[in-house]
Symmetry: C2
Subunit: 182 residues, 2 copies
């Protein structure tokens, strides 16, 4: 294998860029790009402001999951609270999503890690928080959210993640990234 | 919390559906939908044929990762071989991607699990294989791929995944799902 000797941040050059679609949550960006080989290609991808995911743990060490209906896959998925980044401050987004999806309140948020959810076709980045001492009240789902809340032990959630029962990948990965802090 | 008593597969009704964009890899589908509350909404999402991800392990128990430049995020990511599902048979896709990305050959493929990579805005489903006894030769990357190959022990790959060094979420989660089989 020939090594890549020139690992600068942007070995590809953007020649032109436009949005060909946009809604309230994301856009579709179409760029003309010169790659490392010199070839010109069109690269079209979903431009997303990013997501914030929160693994919520109550004072008595229960992990809160939501069962959510996802129209995209016509399936119910176990998930953690998560939402689009609609504010510069990640903690503000995390607290808003906790309230919306599980009626959760905490002052104990710890930033854990980030990952790219689907980097071949989208720039979406997911920032993961662990929320401790979460108090649960009445949730406030959006019209496009159909969810039910349930409480699990750490061992059960980890078992579910390994067994593939948490089919929402962003939630499963967030749980693994938090595992050692649970 | 009011329980969701009616967990049928499709509590939302599709009233109309059209593609508003399409390329060789995915489409953007725009549906008119009646939700569980009776409200009509427009739901626009990326329609993708699915991805196949492979955790490749050599006969001497090394795990093969690729460092890949991702234009979407303008960043280099540690990843496992992965590609769009361009054939009905998942094993055929897995073997093709192994060859393209790491020049890998094996007859020892085990299906592990699937997950949805980004279920709020895309139907993309990722099917994960563990590939054992992989022999590595010359790779054949596509024009849009800029990759370098490296070999790691199982312990090192797991450490990297927990530490957030494998920033491609689909790769990190695939590795966790394979962990107990490694």
């Amino acid at each position: 294998m020939k090594p890549i000797t020139n690992m600068e941040k942007s070995p590809w050059e953007t020649l032109a860029s436009k949005k060909i679609y946009e809604n309230a949550w994301y856009a579709l960006r179409q760029d003309q790009v010169r790659t490392h080989t010199g070839k010109q290609i069109t690269y079209t991808f979903m431009e997303h402001p990013g997501a914030v995911a929160i693994v919520p743990v109550t004072a008595d060490q229960k992990i809160v999951l939501i069962k959510s209906y996802r129209y995209t896959v016509k399936d119910w998925c176990w998930e953690i609270p998560m939402g689009g980044r609609d504010h510069e401050d990640l903690e503000i987004v995390a607290k808003k999503e906790l309230m919306e999806e599980i009626g959760g309140v905490t002052s104990n948020l710890e930033y854990i890690q980030y990952f790219y959810a689907n980097n071949g076709v989208s720039n979406i980045r997911c920032d993961v928080f662990l929320a401790r001492d979460v108090e649960i009240g009445k949730n406030h789902p959006e019209d496009s959210e159909m969810i039910e809340i349930a409480f699990f032990s750490k061992d059960e959630v980890i078992r579910m993640a390994y067994a593939g029962e948490i089919t929402d990948g962003m939630s499963a990965l967030s749980i693994f990234l938090c595992e050692k802090y649970l």
